[in-house]
Symmetry: C2
Subunit: 469 residues, 2 copies
């Protein structure tokens, strides 16, 4: 099979299609190109200075090798692989699995190329309890991958402490040691200390790579390798894309166009960015994108002493399903959104729609057609309807969905985020606003270092009966 690629189609954001009020005209495109070219140059400089190490992940053969080695060690014995992680330590793993393995991978032993995969990214006791009830008698065939740079993330730590107790009790010290794999800081931090104490196998969370940019590091690679995904092709796809997105020529750089067009529309009141794949398998790439875009670009900035709040709101949708849920709003609601479709040219498999019964000739138009044709016609029909109402649309076209094209997609959006960070004039790599909630959680859980905070939270914590009905 020849190599598949992704491409970006953006004609349906232009004034030629949408008219002067909602579309981008030639002069505006020139302005966007100029601003964005400057942004690409800065992004390239920062990279050259070694300050965005995520950019080099496609070339880190040692990381891929470490993931494959570990996957090989547990292959055969491992029937269930469980990731404990949250946010950037979960979303990439989930996205790769949904995109690159079958829908019923976990259910159907014949469709599995490796162990079942579970990603536990919450602290809901009913949910986790249901999981533990099921896994309890399968622990000897189950491996747990704890992913946390620091080991202090409350959700992952809480899950880990529950599982540590369970594994120690049921498998003994040697079994416990065998069945936990840590992906964490190589030198310091809570999870590193725990890993060294018990002698777990471990993989590295690279320095300077934030959670939301870590999918191509061991954070995302291990579960993928374990579940039979070709991680070399994934990295090769990212490397393909690197050649395209470092280009300072705006119109030759798809990351630049994504960033520039999104920024342009944001400034003109289109502050919601909907990603709508027309393929079930790509739905969790939207969820991965949702973190990347929100956490990177949602930032307060101080302009001449005044706080200004910026950041587009990413929204995940799913075609064709959400045509029956969201498209009414997308067409007739405020023109405050930009749409990015993900479209698959050639599905991994296809189905033929059966004949219509005699009593229902009105379904004859479907009979004998390929289902892939139907879903792609629906995408086009929705785009047509949106464009008719002057809503801007772009499409990322996947020639096929495979590890190579998914690698291209991930790297495309990572670099688009870096470029957009420059256009929004914010730091795309920090997340200062997350800290207060973390501190408040520790305070409420009784952490002695945060005791002073409890009194501040109290007015919110106590429900005032006057406002409760």
């Amino acid at each position: 099979m020849t190599q598949a690629n992704i491409s970006l189609y953006y004609k349906n954001v232009t004034a030629e299609v949408l008219g002067p009020e909602h579309g981008i005209n030639r002069d505006q495109f020139s302005e966007i190109a100029a601003k964005t070219t400057a942004a690409i140059e800065k992004v390239n400089q920062v990279r050259a200075a070694g300050k965005t190490p995520y950019r080099d992940l496609p070339y880190k053969a040692a990381y891929a090798a470490s993931a494959k080695k570990l996957a090989a060690e547990i292959a055969g014995a491992c029937e269930n692989f469980v990731v404990l992680g949250i946010g950037g330590s979960a979303l990439g793993n989930i996205a790769l699995q949904t995109a690159l393995n079958p829908y019923l991978y976990n259910t159907d032993d014949k469709q599995r190329k490796g162990p079942r995969l579970f990603v536990l990214d919450n602290v809901d006791p009913a949910q986790l309890g249901s999981f533990l009830d099921w896994i309890g008698d399968k622990l000897d065939r189950t491996w747990f991958n704890v992913i946390s740079k620091s080991g202090r993330t409350a959700e992952t730590a809480a899950q880990y402490l529950i599982l540590q107790q369970m594994l120690q009790e049921r498998l003994g010290p040697a079994g416990f040691r065998e069945h936990v794999i840590a992906t964490t800081d190589p030198k310091k931090g809570t999870m590193r200390q725990i890993t060294d104490k018990y002698g777990f196998r471990s993989l590295v969370v690279p320095d300077g790579v934030g959670g939301r940019f870590s999918v191509l590091s061991p954070v995302g690679l291990l579960s993928a390798a374990v579940c039979g995904i070709d991680i070399d092709e994934l990295l090769a796809g990212a490397a393909d894309m690197n050649q395209r997105v470092k280009n300072t020529g705006f119109f030759a750089n798809p990351a630049a166009i994504l960033a520039g067009v999104n920024h342009h529309f944001y400034q003109r009141g289109k502050r919601i960015s909907v990603m709508m794949p027309y393929a079930y398998g790509l739905k969790d790439l939207s969820d991965w994108y949702r973190q990347l875009w929100a956490e990177s670009l949602g930032k307060a900035k101080n302009i001449h002493g005044e706080m200004v709040f910026v950041g587009p709101t990413p929204v995940k949708a799913l075609g064709a399903t959400d045509q029956h849920s969201q498209v009414q709003l997308y067409r007739e609601g405020p023109n405050d959104k930009i749409f990015t479709f993900l479209q698959v040219q050639e599905f991994a498999r296809d189905l033929t729609i059966g004949p219509a019964p005699d009593c229902a000739p009105e379904l004859g138009y479907l009979a004998g057609a390929k289902m892939s044709k139907l879903i792609n016609c629906e995408k086009l029909a929705t785009e047509y309807a949106l464009v008719k109402d002057l809503r801007p649309c772009m499409t990322i076209l996947f020639e096929r969905v495979d590890a190579r094209t998914v690698g291209q997609f991930l790297y495309l959006y990572e670099v688009a985020t870096s470029i957009a960070g420059r256009l929004f004039e914010i730091d795309a790599y920090d997340q200062p606003a997350v800290e207060l909630g973390k501190d408040a959680t520790m305070a409420l859980m009784g952490h002695p270092d945060y005791a002073a905070m409890v009194a501040k939270i109290q007015p919110i914590a106590t429900m005032d009966p006057a406002y409760r009905i």
Copy 2:
């Protein structure tokens, strides 16, 4: 066990908490109350005139009886129950299952109270193909519930035609007839004709009840009854809520407060409405809400000859997970959102966090705590952080998650939608903007009646190479 209820807490939208710029002060609340009381009165009048039949579903014992009778007929023999439906014919079924059955219900035979449930609400050939590969040798233990009022919904029809062919081939005419159940119009339409031709068992989609208001009709009740959910309690919960939401006293009516507060903030530029449950089980209630809110309220209206586009954008989020994905944006992005948390007071089960290893005393604050305490502290911490940045928050508090409280929740939001429709001055029950995409799909699929449309779509259908990179 005493009956559990839900309540609404809304102090954290007031000026007392958020200050004058972002909060609602007493005078504003009085204005909102006056406007909303008028809306409740109109909603009650329309109901009394029989024009919103969804309002009477809690009292339709015959519907519940028909669902329970059918569920009893297939109980034992049925190991897999498959819903073919999309939009309002899928989202309620999914929401009830996720809320009221265990996380690993489909996976763990010990946790199942009935057959596995699959809701197929898309036309992705790779996804459906994976499902058919697995189900293919289990058809004699599998029942298919086709849900479509008209039977002409392209996605459901396409799925049905594939399954009809498969079932006829593999089970013969009698088996095919036995294993399909139609939920459709009792008298007319494509699915009714097919049902009569083959002699399928069937349930009724009531007249005048739109898809997104149909969860408490046979559309949502059958799969729930089949999977062991107490549908009488579900309806009793809705009836409980009916007593509260017909109240014309604004401050005693939680649906009125939800509608009035949302409308107020929308008019002041907070056009994104985030629903964020802190419970995995409630996550698909958000998805159900997302359709209800978007499709009902996203409407163009003609004001003195000019088209005006209105409608809040509903967004689903999940706590605590999305703290590590969206909260950075929610706090530091534009103050353009209103947040509604769903919180569970008493989880169906709980877990105790294990002891911290000696080498990690920094995790000591978690050791021995209940996981339910952690997730609820996280909710409070997030709310505290948002309120500190003057973002309005409400909470729907579930004393427990059970059929009764879920019934209350569903009816609460349905009536809130009706009231909000009045405040936005739009028709909450139609969805005119969905039609164009349906027609365009038929055109592109070669339906002869829509042939003239193809030429109009062509400029969008052909990708212009000048804009593809």
